[in-house]
Symmetry: C2
Subunit: 144 residues, 2 copies
């Protein structure tokens, strides 16, 4: 157990990776294996280890949950609304990346993910946490 004089938030990273393929825009999502939002789809992501830089955590979580590696991520924005996670205050730093490819790269749900899948952005169901808001913010700025 870890004890502090003042309360602290949990810190996570989330990765929003897009692929444009045959003129359709896809985003890489995972189906959550655990609560909260169990079975709902979400961006791959998870908790930052205390001895790793935040960017390193983003690449690690993306790899652990989807097997997807080899493409660049850049920091997008940090989401910290007080009530965005029912487990308690959790602040998430969102990373993003894009690629173009005739074929969607093979991905596989692992670790905290039941499945990983490229999903057409046009046809998304509601996502876990505040990921619909994050997606909406990303799509306003996406250049691909």
């Amino acid at each position: 157990m870890y004890t502090y004089q003042y309360p602290r938030p949990a810190l996570t990273v989330d990765c929003a990776f897009f692929c444009k393929s045959n003129n359709v825009l896809y985003v890489l999502l995972i189906q959550r294996a655990n609560s909260p939002f169990q079975n709902m789809w979400a961006f791959p992501g998870g908790f930052v280890d205390m001895d790793e830089d935040i960017e390193v955590a983003a690449y690690r979580e993306l790899k652990e949950e989807t097997g997807f590696v080899g493409f660049g991520l850049e920091q997008f924005r940090t989401y910290g609304a007080v009530d965005r996670d029912p487990r308690g205050r959790t602040v998430s730093i969102v990373y993003t990346g894009t690629m173009m490819s005739d074929e969607l790269p093979v991905v596989k749900g692992e670790d905290d993910a039941k499945q990983a899948k490229w999903q057409a952005v046009e046809k998304l169901s509601p996502l876990a946490f505040d990921h619909d808001l994050i997606m909406s913010d990303l799509l306003k700025l996406l250049q691909i």
Copy 2:
């Protein structure tokens, strides 16, 4: 005291506010009243309360430490290198804003700040924490 199953970082906000006046670019800095980096200059900022949104924390800290209010802040980037704060892991969300004015607004160091002052960006001494890096990153993107 607050106890958690896994270690957590401290979460801060920092505010980098620029004013262009008579063709000179100034940034609003405070002289730190407390350690670490006591007496060094830094961006106004401080710890996020657990019941406040991160943007609200940025406006609050800027006001508390400098008295400066009434201008807009937008989120710039989050800094989370493992060793950026000698007190332990601290992740900081940086907000920024700009204005043009013939006269520099009156500011006053309060709370954790011995002084607050508009300083010419061209003539800065080394800043506390990783604020030199943050300043360098900001100046690459600043449009004023």
